[in-house]
């Protein structure tokens, strides 16, 4: 029932790819035929031109954003796993943290971005902290849900066999929680890039978000598209990497959904 985890396609999706290419072609033709100004809607061709011309800057700023996002993602996953484990093992921690976690889920967390700038100044620390902040919640909540979803009979079976709390956790709860944890990590992958980019919108001197704001100020729409395309590719890349890790983990531990 975890709608937030989107499955990766099993086969190459030919039909959607074909319609996507067709849409690109129609887009190009529409822009040319209707003489839509580049500022409003650049044709795929001119976006590709921008990608080519601005490749060095895109690579540099992409590295900045990608590095920040991947770093924040790693920290968020680690922190989320630790939080969920603590909440599972110690009821007091759970009672203290769980209501706050749920409340934060309802709040527009991304809107808190400027606060991080106030606290940590413009630069990498505030950007990282903000990106971690927006991406840690899905991991923690997903993992906690998964740890709690363990089959009660399996837990009882393990306890009856003389299993300790830790063994129940290790052999029953953790395997059950794995798909949930990965689902949370997939959302976190997207959120880490969202956090990094929105952080760069607010204030930054590097990164794709910064580049987009600069291009917007100069009305260089093809460059906005190019930067966003790179950003989307990077985001999808991290998401896919989590998917690959999940597949590997499934093969290794033989759990199936």
């Amino acid at each position: 029932m975890s709608g937030s985890a989107l499955p990766l396609p099993q086969r190459l999706p030919l039909l959607p790819l074909a319609t996507g290419l067709l849409a690109l072609l129609l887009w190009e033709l529409l822009v040319r035929w209707a003489r839509i100004p580049n500022v409003l809607l650049p044709s795929p061709g001119s976006v590709a031109g921008s990608l080519w011309l601005a490749a060095p800057q895109l690579a540099w700023h992409g590295l900045a954003t990608g590095g920040a996002a991947v770093g924040a993602f790693v920290v968020a996953v680690a922190a989320g796993l630790v939080l969920a484990t603590m909440m599972m093992l110690w009821p007091l921690v759970n009672r203290l943290l769980y209501p706050n976690l749920l409340l934060f889920q309802l709040l527009p967390k991304v809107a808190l971005g400027p606060l991080f700038v106030v606290w940590l100044g413009i630069g990498l620390p505030s950007l990282l902290a903000f990106a971690v902040f927006v991406s840690v919640f899905p991991v923690a909540i997903g993992m906690l849900t998964g740890l709690r979803a363990a089959d009660a009979n399996q837990v009882r079976m393990c306890q009856a066999a003389g299993g300790s709390n830790w063994q129940v956790f290790r052999h029953i709860r953790l395997p059950t929680a794995m798909p949930y944890g990965f689902a949370g990590a997939k959302v976190a992958a997207t959120m880490a890039f969202t956090g990094a980019t929105v952080g760069e919108f607010i204030s930054a001197n590097a990164g794709l978000g910064y580049m987009v704001m600069q291009a917007q100020a100069k009305s260089d729409t093809p460059l906005i598209f190019a930067a966003l395309a790179v950003l989307c590719l990077l985001g999808a890349g991290l998401y896919a990497a989590v998917g690959v890790a999940e597949d590997a983990a499934r093969r290794r531990w033989g759990t199936r959904r």
Binding site: G3, P99, L115, T197
Partner: protein, 262 residues
């Protein structure tokens, strides 16, 4: 039902207590430690900021609330209609769903500047962006809800010779509503987020603008005051959907299947 309500109230009380404890700790911490109030304004200063700038906060708060509410309603329409269409055709799903899903994988909140390019810095830009951010959970909720009808109930309809319309009205819709409402709850939060990010990038009006503006001046108390109002707007909208859900649950009369999308 009563026990569930009791435990819900109990957990609400715990959560209120936890929040109150956090606020108190925050106040004590800021007063006790040599932290500059500019860096972390204590709750008392936030309250004072709320009272000191009622006109600014009210004006911008109303703008944000209006755009969020409208954006939410439009996002629901933009999710329900295509969602229902998608549920009718497998071919349509095969063509469109991968793209809709791909859109969720990419950091779509970063696409806000595009909307500025297309729609300028006014309310239409922010609302369109909010719709863009928030429609997806509604769409998935609609499609999953309509597609997830109990197969036995559908077979029953076929045995009885029910028409397409009868099947939709009597069976598919009631089965779909819980998931649709779950999608709408997520959409409520997302719509507010869309408007606020829109306000960040358009820098024209709204609480998001106040947050940015106050942050640039180092007025931490005002930043927090605006954020408190933002949370209020978010919770009111979320609460409205929650009320609708409770009303539906009363009619439904049975434990509803849970659904969550985000």
């Amino acid at each position: 039902m009563r026990a569930a309500l009791g435990s819900a109230l109990g957990s609400a009380a715990t959560s209120l207590l936890a929040v109150a404890a956090m606020v108190a700790a925050w106040e004590g911490l800021v007063r006790g430690l040599p932290v500059s109030p500019d860096l972390l304004a204590p709750p008392s200063a936030v309250l004072e900021a709320l009272l000191r700038h009622p006109d600014i906060l009210l004006e911008h708060g109303l703008a944000t609330a209006r755009e969020t509410a409208l954006g939410f309603v439009l996002a629901c329409l933009a999710g329900v209609v295509p969602g229902a269409l998608l549920s009718t055709s497998a071919l349509l799903r095969r063509v469109a769903m991968p793209w809709v899903l791909a859109l969720q994988i990419v950091p779509k909140m970063a696409l806000a500047p595009l909307f500025v390019v297309w729609l300028g810095v006014g309310a239409p830009c922010r609302m369109a962006f909010a719709v863009f951010i928030a429609f997806f959970p509604v769409l998935i909720g609609t499609t999953a809800g309509l597609a997830g009808t109990d197969s036995g109930a559908l077979r029953l309809c076929r045995v009885l010779g029910a028409s397409w319309w009868q099947t939709v009205l009597w069976v598919r819709l009631p089965y779909a509503v819980p998931q649709l409402l779950a999608g709408m709850k997520t959409a409520a939060t997302m719509a507010l987020l869309g408007v606020v990010i829109g306000e960040f990038v358009t820098a024209q009006q709204g609480l998001g603008y106040v947050v940015m503006f106050a942050a640039s001046l180092g007025e931490t108390a005002l930043v927090l005051a605006a954020i408190v109002l933002l949370c209020g707007i978010g919770l009111v909208l979320y609460g409205a959907v929650l009320l609708a859900e409770l009303g539906f649950a009363r009619w439904y009369g049975a434990p509803m299947p849970a659904g969550e999308f985000g």
